[in-house]
Point group: C2
Chain length 246, copies 2
């Protein structure tokens, strides 16, 4: 009775380990990554740079870009990009084209994202949601559409960093909404660009230590939310609320 | 072997039929519905009006509102609402409050929605996605947040009309993205307002004959998309594309 279960678990673990050991062979292909100021974006840029890739790293802030450039080889180039600004996206796409030319773009990693306010829905405004959707959903959509021609040239791939919260709406706020949307976009994109040899993947991280899961900034955002609430709403969340949740 | 399967199917069908026969008893409670110009919104407004509910119906167009008012009883009231315009939403919320007062709002049905351009992702722009998200995701979010205090007064319920395309990204365009997002919002809202006695449901229609699935307007939108494409992209979708899809 227990033997098949045990064997199944072992097989699953073995395949999991095998899968996680897979990595791209060293290459000098071009990869464009958004949100390289910190977190996954910065780590990936440095990792791929070490392996010989020609990394085109976009950062939101000049200090993020300078800091990354100092840590990387001269193969890596940085540019500034605000994924919510269509003009900034167009400039970045042109910048990428000057590097990749007819070779095309091997990889696009849509990594830039923000947590926004994560808290009880009644504390939030439409704008709180809009701001997060703008970065996390419309950001990658705009960047992908702008770079698709270059990706098609190289029969490249798009990697969208979504989240476990793109499958499970575990909290209030725009984050889950934005990541659910990005999952939908990734899936339809996958089907629509497959005929051109462009592949699409998603990565769904859990709670890793990046700026998105920084407890201090999450709490600050929540405190600011609380402070702007009308007294009547604040009164809903006193001791009586804790009783209701029991 | 087949008997348990057959019994299971019969039981499932019986429970399904039983569930679908359930309906609200006649009532004079207040229900606010968005997008009552046509489709589900208009049908629901008239149905609830017949059953004695005090329907507060919002329409996007004056002609939609007049048309509905003519078909309904004098219990039903209409207002104009553009769910993408925060000021219009605030006005509508104040208008609802003048009717419901201390009784509060028994039901909010977030029905307003658009299809936008449904077509191959590489034909689309960021704006195509933004427009649909603005109506289908940020619209219901804004309306819900504005009416929450009135819903709490009546320990009411929110019904969000999502779509089967909120679970399956079957096509390119903003529609699936927007409906995935609305599913996430509905789920976190459900948890966040439960302590106040407010319940949240979703309805996920398939392909019903409403303006959202009107083939003529979908084709017109797609033709307009095609016409604005650069010749290089158009060339990707000739006979060679059909071969790639085989």
């Amino acid at each position: 009775m227990w033997l098949p279960v045990l064997l199944g678990v072992l097989l699953w673990a073995a395949l999991w380990l095998l899968r996680d050991r897979q990595s791209l062979p060293p290459s000098n292909a071009f990869v464009f990554i958004t949100g390289c100021d910190s977190g996954f974006g910065r780590l990936l840029a440095l990792r791929l740079d070490q392996r010989g890739f020609r990394v085109l790293a976009s950062c939101l802030t000049p200090s993020g870009a300078e800091d990354l450039q100092r840590a990387a080889s001269s193969r890596l180039h940085t540019t500034l990009l605000d994924v919510t600004d269509p003009q900034s996206v167009q400039r970045a796409a042109k910048w990428v084209e000057t590097y990749v030319g007819e070779t095309g773009l091997f990889g696009l990693v849509n990594n830039a994202g923000v947590a926004g306010v994560i808290g009880p829905t009644p504390w939030l405004t439409r704008d709180d949601f809009h701001r997060v959707l703008n970065v996390n959903t419309l950001g990658p959509i705009g960047v992908t559409l702008a770079l698709l021609p270059l990706l098609q040239r190289a029969r490249g791939r798009v990697i969208n960093i979504t989240s476990v919260l793109g499958r499970l709406a575990a909290n209030g706020g725009g984050y889950c909404v934005s990541k659910y949307g990005l999952e939908a976009f990734s899936d339809s994109l996958r089907r629509d660009v497959a005929p051109f040899g462009v592949r699409v993947s998603i990565v769904e991280p859990g709670f890793f230590r990046t700026s998105v899961t920084n407890l201090e900034s999450l709490e600050n955002a929540l405190q600011a939310c609380w402070a702007r609430l009308p007294p009547a709403t604040q009164a809903n969340y006193g001791d009586a609320f804790l009783t209701k949740c029991e």
